[in-house]
Amino acid sequence: MAFATLKTNPAWTGWSRWANRHRMWLFAAPSMIFVALLIAFPLGWTLYLSLTDSAGSVRNPSDFIGFENYLAVLTDTRRFWPAVGRTLFFTVGVLTVEMVLGMAIALLLWRPFKGERWVRVAILMPLVATPVAIGMMWRLIFEPNIGFANQLLGWFGIPAQPWLSGAGTALPTLMFVDIWQWTPMIVLILLAGLTALSDEPDEAARVDGANAWQRFRHVTLPLMMSSVITAVLLRSIDALKTFDILYATKGKGGGSFHEVETLNIYAYGLSFDYNKYGASSTVLVLFFLMIIGVVWILTLRKKRSAL
């Protein structure tokens, strides 16, 4: 389709001419104002708060303290850095397992088989469930005394585990829940990538005597790298921001030893439990920069794979 160009009417003057020249901006203006109000303003406000000592209430007078909050947060080895570590551990851990499992399941579902539709529906079930409901359900399953998980272990003679109650086991347990819930999303994305592949390269490799692993490693995987990076990109942003299952199962502070306190949970606690809005905004700005960094690296990688 051709682009529209404008036939200028010589009778138009002044404001009309200006409006006509800037019609692109005029059309876009309402939605741009809307976006500015909904996204840019909260971001700017958070940035501003991070430079103040706002606490108690944002309506209370607060002093502009420059980068003092940033200095305090970045040198906080008791809560901030452990939260950064947990956020990264959680994200990298779940992403690795979800990608491997997701790829395996997508490869299994790639070729048509009997009952395929039912299997796909079953696999997608966790994806459509409400995260808080999932948190509550798993909390019951992992209850140390009456939960199903320990009963199951008992049938095999394995001693009961503390699961969500243990300082060392809570985060891995929640990573398991996250993997259970979000692997289907990876399957969906990778399956879409696999379905779009043409059969010829695979057949050519087969004729050349490549085995299944070689065909996957050197033909299928490189061809669908773009889908893989899309999946990693979407899922990593989401995993970094995980809040609902952590909060639903362990509450404010991420447990008595802060064992599942990620950056999101920490920032929430600073705001809603401690009412320290300056410090909370600082954590959020740093977290935002961290997410931007991850997205930037992955986008660069994606561009490179597309070349």
Binding site: A2, F3, A4, T5, L6, K7, N9, W12, S16, A19, N20, R23, L26, F27, A29, P30, S31, I33, F34, A55, G56, S57, V58, R59, N60, P144, N145, A160, P162, L164, S165, A167, K250, G251, K252, G253, G255, S256, F257, G269, S271, F272, D273, Y274, N275, K276
Partner: protein, 435 residues
């Protein structure tokens, strides 16, 4: 290439329509929020999920009819209520008129922020309603800088819940001291595999309030008279040692460090523990056969005495206040007066929610519905009670996490001394920061 003519009038029409739609949407939104909030015939009441709320809610049509108004009631769980206040009151919203709040948890913060209207004149206006009838401790907790900012509605003290059958089988008397409690917990847990000798809250912040009675009974407190931190004193260390040790040694197997009252109460009411220390206002959970397997064997006793005597907390857990931004302050006060009048307080207390009025405790009808041993325990506790169950600071959430750390360290068998040292250091810095 095709050439299209874009009429300027069309461009402007679209832009104007979009802008108008945006403005209209904005105005409509603000209309719905402000017009209803400023409607003198609508009173917005925000309450917590509680037996008190259920009873008062049933009577609300009576108030509506009497005043010819409509009440918009929002009922939320404790945490959601807190978050809701944080968001709305921070924004200076006038969408809340009457608010149910926790005087010791957020009272100081709300009063410092100017969220709560001054009710000093209102409380003395109606002699029949009788402000002087409210107990001194709860009144102190709902006052700030010499002004009354709330009316207490529910009070609570820590009592000892115990299993009569297990004590009888072990040939033990009801413990009256903390030493006796420990001995009884040990003997019962030894004799009954699978039954814990003792259970109580274990989550760091949630446990602080129930730990406070142990702390006071050992002769300690969170702060001294000058407001300095005192969580590393000999007495405080002994209390941490005792509370943590009791759960670590005689508590449930695989004990979680995330238990607040619902989880700890569930263990006790499912028959999993012999002793349980908890707020008396929650007793219906243990005596109601629909909720408790031990409803016919549960007994209650005053808080056992420590080296410094029996010193349980005696606090107002909830109060009603008026949002300082509310345009309906007069009506909001009428509601509070109506909800806290003597007859209603008596009715609420008879339904199992301990009230803050002296008269309902002096009235035989006020305690006749309570189990006899619970009524005796409550009266004894009220006499010895301490007026706070957590540090008296503005940022209570953070303070509870700091002073609660040695509790969970004790429960998990860790180094309580090191944890108390760290708690003292952090709490001192925290208090310095709040000055």
């Amino acid at each position: 290439m095709e050439t299209y003519t874009v009429k300027l009038t069309s461009v402007l029409r679209v832009a104007a329509l979009s802008a108008a739609a945006l403005v209209a949407a904005g105005s409509l939104t603000s209309c719905t929020s402000t017009s209803a909030a400023k409607d003198p015939d609508v009173l917005r009441v925000t309450l917590a999920n509680h037996v008190w709320t259920d009873i008062v809610k049933d009577a609300i049509p009576e108030f509506e009819k009497e005043h010819g108004i409509t009440i918009e009631l929002t009922q939320l769980g404790e945490d959601q209520l807190s978050d809701q206040y944080n968001v709305k009151l921070n924004a200076g919203s006038d969408e809340i008129d009457v608010m149910m709040y926790r005087p010791l948890q957020e009272g100081k913060l709300f009063a410092t922020n100017g969220y709560l209207a001054d009710l000093s004149d209102k409380v003395t206006e109606n002699a029949e309603w009788d402000w002087a009838d409210f107990q001194e401790g709860p009144v102190a907790a709902t006052s700030f800088d010499g002004k009354v900012v709330g009316v207490p509605i529910i009070t609570e003290r820590e009592v000892l819940y115990y299993r009569k059958d297990l004590l009888q089988a072990a040939g033990l008397e009801v413990p009256t001291t903390l030493d006796e409690l420990e001995t009884a917990a040990r003997e019962i847990s030894d004799q009954n595999p699978g039954v814990a000798g003792f259970v109580a809250r274990t989550a760091k912040a949630a446990a602080v309030t129930q730990f406070s009675s142990f702390l006071y009974s050992f002769g300690g407190d969170f702060q001294d008279a000058k407001g300095e931190a005192t969580v590393d004193t000999k007495e405080a260390r002994a209390a941490y040692e005792y509370y943590g040790g009791l759960i670590n040694n005689y508590g449930p197997e695989n004990v979680s460090t995330d238990m607040s009252w619902p989880e700890a109460m569930a263990i006790f009411t499912q028959g999993g523990a012999a002793f349980y220390t908890e707020a008396d206002s929650l007793y219906l959970n243990a005596t109601d056969p629909a909720k408790s397997k031990v409803s016919d064997t549960v007994g209650f006793a005053a808080f056992p005495a420590g080296p410094d005597g029996s010193k349980p907390y005696n606090v107002p857990s909830w109060a009603l206040g008026v949002n300082a931004e509310s345009p309906n302050q007069g009506l909001a006060w009428d509601f509070i007066e109506w909800a806290t009048e003597k007859e209603r307080t008596l009715e609420v207390q008879q339904a199992g929610v301990p009230g803050p009025r002296t008269s309902v405790w002096e009235d035989a009808a006020g305690i006749e519905s309570y189990p006899a041993d619970l009524a005796t325990a409550i009266l004894a506790n009220a006499e010895n009670g301490i007026g706070h169950d957590r540090p008296l600071v503005i940022n209570v959430g953070e303070a509870r996490e700091i002073v609660g750390d040695p509790i969970v360290v004790g429960i998990t068998g860790g180094d309580i001394d090191a944890s108390a040292d760290q708690a003292q250091e952090l709490f001192s810095l925290f208090l310095e920061d709040e000055k």
